[in-house]
Point group: D2
């Protein structure tokens, strides 16, 4: 039985660079010679990517691919998999596999209390008592649920039936493949930033996943990432 | 605390009829006069729809819309919302609302035991003892989980945090909007039929949802439904 | 032989109202009673729709459907059909039908000359001589192309082969089905407005189609349309 | 002025191998150790991919990416870009660039005459006279159209206006990015094979593009391609 307060994000493979964006854009607007010139001149590359981002020419940002391995609680995956366009998923199956007992318990830094009216919640720190209560209640509930799961499996009940008692705080794993455009759309909704042109209110746990993905992506495509930030973190 | 062994599917609104398919197809291949003639001759309408289905002209089946209200366990919604294309979802939010204690417990008719090798499981009846065990274990686990949820809420913990202990057997509700083509794709994978050209192995609970949707759809678009069945239950 | 300077847009059928948005949103956040209250209070309905638009809760805008009949030049359809998400198309087939000789020639109001650098073109009026030249060249080229098409058809050549000579100024027809969210995305890119938060530079001819669609939609869903305009014409 | 009877397809970049499929599938059903074993045993890899294809587990075929450069007539692109799901496009812009005079004229092997009733056309060879007529009519019409285009450009008319006279036989170029699943769907509809479980009737010119893409893909992912063929060329 493992209790975790963090998520895992690993880049499995990728075919993604700023050059992919430049090439795709140049098919639309110019010949290959121009691209050769462009690559000699980093300032112009940066300018072109910024122009595409600003004027919402979104398609040049789609000709690339990143596959992530993600391990996070089911309640995070429930939000994640609502992203339909430009995303591919393969998640661990509770029908084919016996699910392992790893569960999410908020760490000390997780703000536990929300204040304000619906749609404009602000989160504030919980008291030490609240943190203690959450840890106790969660660990206890998780243990009981998993014991019931195992009891049913031992009695010969099918995995897909027995799993009904497992909580959404259970960790699952998946492969998630996207391109820079679909990732930007995800980041614009699942991270919260002061410089964002449009406000977002993501649940902290999916934001933790999003932040890891953004850090990986920023290394692969630094000019594209910089243009995304500079243009208010709105997907083109 | 409610324990339910069944799902709910209601048609909220629709704009869907066999005529929509005929009109869309006729834009491609003929003038409006031909359609007027077609409507006078039901046999030809049936033939045209059957031809479109058989030769996989899929787009004429998209110009229609059905919105369903669905209430089912979270583990069903997890599979359901993996259908990305031609589907729109709005689900009850565990961040904005306190979730109500309705939980899924398999009914007597639910086969509990799977036999055979992965990918080719066959389900067989459980013994009375197995059924009794499942009912006891589930109800007990559900009660404990929900008590922990309430305990945390009463202590002022945010709903989005406290919900981590809630099981995937909890009922949720959603609006799901689709068109006939996306519905056929869903039905081809989430129902099991002897006359299906390609075998499917859906979990029984999502199949229960799918069967209700199919019954509704068959009334709205009887010629299209008949052509779907006659052509091996494969989406065009 | 017909020379047209305008496009046609007709609403074929729909299932689309502001209430659809409210219902879908309420599934997420509240019970049906709240909705009954909401309908008694138009001010709150307006406020809720505006909140959804502003904070980019996009999914409630998807549970509705509009089917348009569009007649426009092929070069418009080429841009239109690049919109992939939430759009369904059935276009007149040049493989199954002999295409009729209706062609696009710009009207007097169409600005013919572009100035400025790529990505920031501004269009200005053409001279009377330029307008005259365009009309003459287009009509002449269209006549010759269509004569070649007919010549080949008469010689027994397949329609799909002969059509290669037909120009992209030829009118085609299609059914296009969308929902409010996909329509807003289309409008944000294919219309140009001073109050738009992000600039767009659509070709005038597709903007003519977009303007007609927007006028129809604004009547069907006035609160949603008003919120779209008030929030800078950006799709949620 | 160039007259071409063939299309161009080049693989620009890719991240696509059979192993990608195995890894994604193994996330769903087993641990990484199993995969290591699997890779030592090619027979089992082949069996797993075949099982996924046969039982329509489509998502493991999505975690890969191929970018093609395609040069083909506009009438081919019009059909190509109707494929919406899992495809990204960037096409040469007639608004930003002056389009170059390369045009499609059918080669000697292209069957020119269709016989039979709609939906069941069969193509047969044209006579030498028909081939000669097609060549003459097309070349002549193309020359006149392009001359009109240049005339308008020289008079200062905007490219986006002048292009209305250009024929759909004009060559365009694009980047097209897809994954194995979306490519299989494309191939199932745009190639014609005796061993296909469902018949297709693609226009020959798009089939030429599809055949080139298939040949490239078969080298990158031989086990996946073999399973696609063995299972009736139906996308999972």
């Amino acid at each position: 039985m493992r209790f975790l307060d963090d998520v895992t994000v690993e880049l499995v493979k990728h075919s993604a660079s700023d050059t992919d964006v430049l090439w795709a854009a140049r098919v639309s607007t110019a010949g290959e010679q121009s691209l050769a010139e462009l690559e000699k001149d980093p300032g112009r590359s940066k300018g072109l990517i910024n122009y595409l981002m600003r004027d919402r020419h979104g398609s040049p940002f789609e000709h690339n691919s990143m596959t992530f391995f993600v391990s996070a609680p089911i309640f995070v995956f429930r939000e994640f998999q609502r992203h339909r366009v430009g995303w591919s998923y393969n998640e661990e199956s509770g029908r084919y596999r016996e699910l392992q007992p790893s569960f999410y318990v908020p760490g000390e830094g997780r703000k536990l209390v929300q204040e304000g009216k619906p749609g404009r919640y602000v989160f504030v720190d919980g008291t030490p008592e609240q943190h203690k209560l959450v840890t106790q209640q969660m660990e206890s509930a998780y243990r009981q649920s998993y014991a019931a799961y195992e009891e049913m499996l031992e009695a010969g009940v099918a995995r897909e039936v027995a799993r009904a008692v497992l909580p959404v705080g259970l960790f699952s794993t998946m492969y998630a493949t996207c391109n820079a455009r679909s990732l930007m759309h995800f980041l614009s909704l699942r991270t919260q930033h002061e410089q964002a042109r449009v406000p977002s209110f993501p649940q902290r746990e999916i934001e933790m996943v999003a932040e890891r993905m953004e850090a990986v992506w920023a290394e692969l495509m630094p000019l594209t990432h910089a243009a995304f930030v500079a243009n208010g973190r709105v997907a083109p």
